[in-house]
C-alpha cells in the first residue's frame, strides 16, 4: 500500500462529511444537485484535504494549486470542501442560495472566497483552467490546475477545443478529472447523447490518460501523484463513479441530478452519511 491506512481512512471520512454537508446545504423541499456532487466527493476530498497546496487564510496565495469546477452546478460540493477547509463557516452552507447570500447556485468568483472562476455554462472550465496553467507557466509557478469535468458535459465542443489547445501548449500543469458517473440530466449518457468512448478520444487529443475507480481513495491519490510525474502533456483522470454515491435512494437515479429531498429523504440521507 503506497498510502497509510490512516490517510486513506481520514480522506474517506472527509468525503463522507462532504456528502453530508451537501445534503444539509440542499435541505428539504428545494432542488439541489446531489447526484453529481456526491459522485465527485472522494476526488474533491483527496484534492482539498491532501493533494492541493492552498491556504484558507490566504485564498489568493500566488503559489497555490487551483481547483475549478467545469461542472459548475455542483457548487455545493466545492462550498462544502471550502467550508471544511476553513474558508468560511460550515454553518453557512445551510444558507446556500438564499437571496443576497455569498453562496450562489453556481460558483461566483466575486462573492465566495476560494472560488477561482465563475462557471456553470457547461464546457468552459477546462479552457479557463488552461488559461491559469499558461499564466502560471509564464510566472514560473510550479503548481497544478485541477479541473473537474462531467461526462455529460463532454458533449460541449469547447471541452475538445480546450483538450486540443492544452496538448498543443504542452500544459503538463493541467489535470482534468472526468466524473464518469454515466448519467446526465435527462438520462443515461449512452441513451441520451453518447459522448463515449472517452479514453480513446482523450488519448487521440494528446493527453496522458489514467483510468480509476473514482471512489477508491488509493487509486485517486495514486492518479494525482502519477500526473505529477508526466512531463510535456496534460493528464486526464477518467474516474468511474456512481451518481449520488453514499445516499442509497439517490444512487444512479436520474431524478436526483437536481433533486428535491422530502423530510423523510433528508433524515435517511443524513443517517446513511453519519
Amino acid at each position: 500500500m503506497k498510502y497509510s491506512k490512516e490517510l486513506i481512512d481520514e480522506l474517506n471520512q472527509k468525503a463522507k462529511k462532504l456528502r453530508k454537508d451537501v445534503v444539509i446545504s440542499i435541505g428539504v423541499g428545494v432542488a439541489g444537485h446531489i447526484g453529481g456532487s456526491n459522485s465527485s466527493a472522494d476526488i474533491v476530498s483527496a484534492l482539498y484535504f491532501h493533494k492541493m497546496k492552498h491556504d484558507p487564510k490566504n485564498p489568493k496565495m500566488p503559489d497555490r494549486d487551483r481547483f475549478l469546477l467545469s461542472k459548475g452546478h455542483v457548487a455545493i460540493l466545492q462550498y462544502a470542501a471550502l467550508a471544511e477547509s476553513g474558508y468560511f463557516p460550515v454553518e453557512d452552507l445551510k444558507k446556500t442560495k438564499e437571496i443576497g447570500f455569498y453562496l450562489q447556485g453556481h460558483p461566483d468568483v466575486l462573492k465566495t472566497p476560494g472560488i477561482e472562476a465563475g462557471t456553470g455554462s457547461l464546457g468552459q472550465g477546462l479552457s479557463i483552467g488552461l488559461g491559469m496553467a499558461l499564466g502560471m507557466k509564464l510566472d514560473h509557478i510550479d503548481r497544478k490546475v485541477y479541473v473537474l469535468v462531467g461526462d455529460g458535459e463532454s458533449a460541449e465542443g469547447q471541452i475538445w477545443e480546450a483538450a486540443m489547445a492544452a496538448s498543443a501548449f504542452k500544459a503538463d500543469n493541467l489535470v482534468a478529472i472526468v466524473d464518469n458517473n454515466g448519467l446526465q440530466a435527462n438520462g443515461k449518457v449512452t441513451d441520451r447523447f453518447n459522448s463515449y468512448p472517452l479514453i480513446p478520444k482523450w488519448e487521440s487529443f494528446g493527453w496522458n490518460v489514467i483510468e480509476i475507480d473514482g471512489h477508491n481513495m488509493e487509486e485517486i491519490l495514486s492518479a494525482f501523484d502519477e500526473a505529477d510525474m508526466v512531463k510535456g502533456k496534460p493528464t486526464v483522470i477518467i474516474a468511474h463513479t456512481v451518481k449520488g454515491k453514499g445516499v442509497s435512494f439517490a444512487e444512479n437515479v436520474v431524478g436526483f441530478h437536481n433533486g428535491m429531498l422530502t423530510e423523510e429523504n433528508y433524515a435517511q440521507a443524513l443517517k446513511e452519511l453519519s
Partner: protein
C-alpha cells in the same frame, strides 16, 4: 508615430505598452495578421498565444490568464470576438469582472467584401447589454492609441471596437483618453450630433456643409458604455433636436444609449445607422457605406429634417 488605421494603431500600441508591462498578453484565433496581434507576437512571442480557430476556447483561456494577474487582449473580427464568444464573455469574464480586454476588429461594414457574415452591426448592442462591461468605439487611429492605454489602466472587462480600413484622423494625436468622457469636436446650437467611430468624421463633414444654414454641434462619443448621462444631457440641453450617427444597427447601439438618457428630457432624436438589417458585400468600403446610408449626405438629410420644425 501617427497612424491612419485603427488596427495598426492598436497592434503597435500593444507592443509599446507590452515592453514595460509584462502583464500584457495577447491571444489570436488565426487572424493575427489582420488584427495586428502579429506585431505583439513578433515582439514578445512568449506572451502571444495562437489559439487556433477556436474563439470560445480563446476567450475562456483569457479569463484564466486574467485570474493569474495577466492583462489578456483577445483579438478577432468583431462578429466572432463579441458574437461567437458571447457566452464565454458573459459567464466568466463579465460576471467575475475579470480583467480581460476583447478587441472586435473589422467591425461595422468595414470588412466590406466579406458581406453579412463578417459585418458586425450588433456587437455594441450585445456588449452594452452585459453588466460590468465597458464598451469603447474610438473615432480614429489617434484615439485608438490612447484608448488602448486607458484600457490597460482600467481594471475590468472591456470591449474595443475597431475599423478595418484607413481613414484620416479627426481627433488630435496624444490627447489622453478618458473612459466615459465624450468630447465636443465642434460647437453649435441648433442640432447636436452624437457620433461614434468612423461616423464622427462624416458628422463633422456634414456640419461643415451645413455651416451657413444650421448651427450643428458634433460630439464624439467613444465610450458607449458606461454612457455619460450628465454629459449627454448637458450637450443636448441647449439644442433643439438630436441626431445620433453610428456604423451599427440603430437597434441597441449609440442611438439607443443616447435615447435611454434623453427620452426623459423630451428631446426629439433621429438615428443614422444601419436599419434593422444585415450587411452585404461590396467591392469597396464606400459603396457599402453608401448602400446602407452611412454617409455625410444622410447625416445632412437627418439634420435638416430635425431642424425643420424649428425654422
Amino acid at each position: 508615430m501617427t497612424y491612419t488605421n485603427q488596427r495598426m494603431a492598436y497592434g503597435n500600441t500593444l507592443v509599446e505598452l507590452g515592453k514595460e508591462d509584462k502583464r500584457i498578453v495577447v491571444l489570436d484565433a488565426d487572424l493575427g495578421g489582420s488584427t495586428m496581434g502579429k506585431l505583439f507576437e513578433a515582439a514578445y512571442p512568449e506572451r502571444h498565444f495562437e489559439m487556433g480557430i477556436a474563439e470560445a476556447n480563446m476567450t475562456s483561456v483569457a479569463a484564466g490568464l486574467a485570474q493569474t494577474g495577466k492583462i489578456p487582449f483577445t483579438n478577432s473580427f468583431a462578429v466572432f470576438a463579441g458574437g461567437r464568444a458571447y457566452d464565454q464573455i458573459r459567464q466568466t469574464i463579465a460576471i467575475g469582472k475579470l480583467n480581460v480586454k476583447i478587441c472586435g476588429s473589422s467591425s461595422g461594414m468595414s470588412d466590406f467584401g466579406d458581406g453579412a457574415t463578417h459585418q458586425a452591426i450588433e456587437d455594441m448592442a450585445i456588449m452594452r447589454a452585459i453588466p460590468n462591461m465597458t464598451v469603447i468605439c474610438p473615432a480614429d487611429a489617434n484615439e485608438t492609441v490612447q484608448a488602448v492605454k486607458a484600457m490597460v489602466e482600467l481594471d475590468g472587462p472591456c470591449y474595443l471596437r475597431l475599423n478595418r480600413n484607413d481613414y484620416e484622423n479627426v481627433t488630435p494625436e496624444d490627447k489622453p483618453f478618458e473612459i466615459g468622457i465624450p468630447s465636443v469636436l465642434k460647437e453649435g446650437s441648433d442640432i447636436v450630433v452624437f457620433a461614434t467611430g468612423i461616423m464622427v468624421g462624416k458628422a463633422l463633414e456634414a456640419a461643415e456643409e451645413l455651416k451657413d444654414k444650421v448651427s450643428v454641434k458634433v460630439v464624439n462619443v467613444s465610450t458607449i458604455k458606461p454612457m455619460n448621462k450628465e454629459a449627454v444631457i448637458k450637450q443636448a440641453k441647449d439644442c433643439k433636436a438630436v441626431v445620433t450617427v453610428e456604423e451599427h444597427s440603430i437597434v441597441g447601439g449609440l442611438g439607443s444609449a443616447v435615447s435611454e438618457v434623453l427620452c426623459k428630457e423630451c428631446k426629439p432624436i433621429e438615428f443614422v445607422g444601419v436599419e434593422d438589417t444585415f450587411g452585404g458585400s461590396g467591392h469597396n468600403y464606400n459603396d457599402v457605406l453608401e448602400y446602407y446610408k452611412l454617409t455625410k449626405e444622410h447625416i445632412v438629410e437627418s439634420i435638416l429634417k430635425m431642424v425643420e420644425p424649428y425654422k
